[in-house]
Symmetry: C2
Subunit: 526 residues, 2 copies
């Protein structure tokens, strides 16, 4: 990944004339946000590690796997939130880890954590570096130094059990690496978050990632069968059986622990045969409420699609669902929904027929396969647009939350109002697009894309909006994050999420496992 934008250099996008025209007319923007600088020009403070510490760490992983190189430190300077991108563009000195460690295996991670605990060095676990919530910021807490633990060398397909539909994967494998290794066995995980191309297996587990095919294959937390976790106090191996009544499910403490309770080094996940076929369908609904009720009916009846999404009127209008053609005329009136069904031909046919009957009865108009195929084709490209928009002076950010079906309308209204008020009040009224990204029997997630003119201090501008939206979300009893995780940016709302006593439970667990408090300070746990 490049240090100051999403993804790889070759993915860089230019805005189409349609989008430029839209921006100019809708937002009144013409000047871009200051350009990125060359890597060599960026100021970083000197590594705070002592020579002794550096050789102590090198004694564990080997000299060549402890890096204090300028570019390495910059690449590990944080994640990819809009705050991050704005900081990269700011011209200010950048925070960076004091070293990056590249352990070869679980035992080295255990040894590193023990060393860092003894030597009071903060540790930030790092997979793909795609966090959009400050989850991999090199925060040092009260410690003199912070190292980032890059897990890319934990890249083995450790075991395949095709009878049970399980595979054990090294935490450092990226989505495409894992799918390629499993593909050799005719298997797939089916986890496709928007960060798929870069994010890692360990990161998926550590952040409770949810992919676009979650309706069919579940969230990543649903897929996790077993976890191997390195901690400053040794190893945890959790998850023996497909289901158990042997007390609390401790896996669920570490899934979503975001590097604060341990470093996930291997994950055994549910896999399935590469689908024999996929059925695609696009739908239009007269309005968001009708569409939402239709999706609800499908998921509650049990005719489970693999992917099921619904864009609101605004998002349908700018055709964001087909991100290669953003801003072009979608040709769809009302609200666009898409469904895909994967599996054996018989399974696809049975579910698709059932869902089609439900969606037609609920007021949908079938649009054929194309809208769903186009969505799938462009589905990993949207994050690149954010950088292109910043180039053009437009702040673009996404926020996501979830609630029960009966509360979905209130949640959408609350978030939209908070955005309109907080950004409008600063003289930069936003365009707010929304879609239902994930459906469950009991509720759904709402995914918002917010576009507005960037002010000179865009970090301050967006901080006000972020605070307003977070407060709005908790005021209507929804979750502060459905799949982006907590990191540093959602931490102010963790007490609202789990209560004072819940926070104390998290602190007690951390104190038991990480008594020195070296693991990812400043993240998740208030």
């Amino acid at each position: 990944m490049v240090w100051n934008a999403w993804g790889v250099e070759s993915g860089h996008k230019e805005l189409s004339p349609e989008v430029k025209a839209l921006i100019s007319s809708a937002l009144g923007v013409s000047e871009g946000v200051a350009d990125s600088r060359a890597v060599a020009d960026v100021a970083l403070r000197d590594s705070a590690l002592t020579d002794d510490q550096r050789s102590g760490l090198a004694g564990i992983v080997g000299d060549e796997f402890v890096s204090i190189a300028h570019e390495d430190r910059l690449i590990h300077a944080g994640g990819k939130s809009t705050f991050d991108l704005l900081r990269r563009r700011s011209g200010e000195p950048q925070a960076a880890p004091d070293a990056i460690l590249f352990p070869a295996d679980h035992d080295q991670v255990v040894a590193l954590l023990a060393y860092c605990a003894e030597n009071a060095i903060a540790v930030v676990p790092f997979g793909g570096g795609t966090s959009v919530v400050g989850g991999v910021d090199p925060a040092r807490g009260d410690f003199a130094a912070v190292v980032t633990l890059d897990l890319r060398r934990l890249d083995a397909l450790v075991a395949v059990d095709s009878v049970s539909g399980l595979a054990t994967l090294g935490a450092g494998l990226t989505g495409p690496q894992a799918e390629a290794l499993l593909g050799e066995h005719g298997l797939s995980i089916g986890h496709f978050p928007q960060s798929f191309q870069f994010a890692s297996i360990g990161g998926y587990a550590a952040t409770r990632s949810s992919g676009q095919a979650s309706a069919g294959y579940g969230r990543f937390d649903d897929m996790v069968h077993r976890l191997q976790i390195a901690t400053p106090r040794g190893t945890l191996d959790l998850g023996k059986a497909p289901a158990s009544a042997a007390g609390p499910d401790l896996r669920e403490l570490f899934v979503g622990s975001e590097g604060t309770l341990g470093v996930i080094t291997a994950v055994t996940v549910r896999v399935h045969p590469v689908p024999e076929t996929t059925g695609y369908q696009g739908w239009s609904f007269p309005n968001f409420e009708t569409g939402a009720a239709a999706l609800r009916s499908v998921i509650q009846t049990g005719a489970t699609p693999t992917v099921m999404r619904l864009s609101d009127e605004a998002e349908t209008g700018v055709n964001l669902a087909m991100s290669d053609r953003i801003g072009s005329d979608s040709g769809v009136s009302g609200c666009l929904a898409i469904t895909t069904f994967e599996g054996t031909p018989a399974h696809v046919e049975a579910r698709q027929a059932e869902a089609t009957a439900i969606l037609l009865a609920a007021g949908g108009t079938a649009l054929g396969a194309e809208p769903a195929q186009q969505w799938e084709h462009g589905r990993f490209n949207a994050p690149y647009m954010r950088d292109a928009l910043l180039d053009a002076g437009v702040l673009c950010e996404t926020m996501e939350t979830a609630t029960v079906w009966s509360n979905l309308g209130a949640l959408r209204t609350a978030v939209t109002s908070a955005l309109s008020d907080s950004l409008g009040g600063q003289g930069t009224p936003p365009l707010v697009l929304c879609h239902i990204s994930h459906t469950y029997v009991t509720g759904a997630s709402l995914y918002f894309t917010i576009i507005c003119a960037a002010k000179e201090d865009a970090i301050a501008q967006w901080s006000i909006a972020k605070k307003a939206v977070g407060d709005a979300i908790v005021s209507v009893d929804a979750t502060i994050t459905h799949h982006h995780a907590v990191g540093a940016d959602h931490r102010p709302w963790m007490t609202d999420e789990v209560g004072e006593l819940g926070v104390e439970v998290l602190r007690a667990v951390k104190a038991a496992i990480d008594p020195a408090g070296i693991l990812n300070p400043g993240k998740l746990i208030p």
Copy 2:
């Protein structure tokens, strides 16, 4: 429930002539285990509560809701494991709580826990009292007194959200009470464990219960959306959204906490419309392996049945699946499997057609609806047979575990050998019946019924077998319990289950929430 046997008086069973003949020929038994005594004759120690404590507790719940009546204490003397039944028959003085408290609401539970923490009184939460693992034994740990907190008055249907398919239920509602209240709204939970008639909503959550329809509706832990929990340090309210990435899922610490971390007072669970129709099918397979592979194929393809079970050759032979006709000729050769499908007619038809094709292709012979209907008809009766067998001098117990599909054969062999060796070695070779009770994409549970002649010291006899089976289960990396929970009886294997560090995490959580350690001492946490 009666104090010394399963269920209610009217459910009492007599063995059929066929079973008596089977026992006589197969096990060589003729004398029964000593009779139960009348309630009034059972010796209990005097209540250890001081007068001050009794009035302190009465000050919270009211005089009439603090009982030290002999019969109340006896009814709350423990659960319904075979150990419990043998203890009740033993003629020894019975352990019993020093008082039974009947709080009216959540706030009273919070106040009771604070009082007991301050006054060093152990607390055993009690729902239906159906534990078969010693989970409600009135153990006092290091405390002078122990009270049992009977939650039967928390029996309200607190809220119904039919749009989201959610209902909030008081923890003290039994299965039938909850279904009746929901039935008025056209809704059902679909959770039907064998203890259904007596067990409580709070108990289901506290023990990670799994019902017979878990293939279709999930385990109870899957159904839990939100929990209200009373602790000595106040209230926890966990679970806002259908899914969240806001850190560890703390619900999963309390689901399965078996009263050691708090008292669950209300549970918001997933509900669904009362099914419009049910499709039933019986199947026979030439052997257990073929049948297991067939069930695996169905569940991995996604043609989810509501119920799916497979009896092994021995169990099929004694026709245990049709428990009203135990021992009669089932007319089924090989292994009997049953499937049921619930839902809308279209959904039932689609899934049943898909499953039928898979089961036929996998070597199954369709037997029509009757075997599945008969199983459903008699499905809650089996526990009564255990008392009837004890009357006839036969020890009967069940054990359950789970593992991944690829390990299922090894697990079945290991458990069967452990039973044959440990009981055979004592001169009481057992009849071991086994079925797959619950299926998952990645594995399944095995449910064993063990029948052998009871020795004079049947508690010692069964202790040897229980130890052998537990050791066998962990030796093949399976879980010590799939749905019976840990309680006192499986606690010796908790360290095998989650590791030393996992146990320390549980202890740390308990110390944070229950610093005095009053909550259900001696259960779950080693």
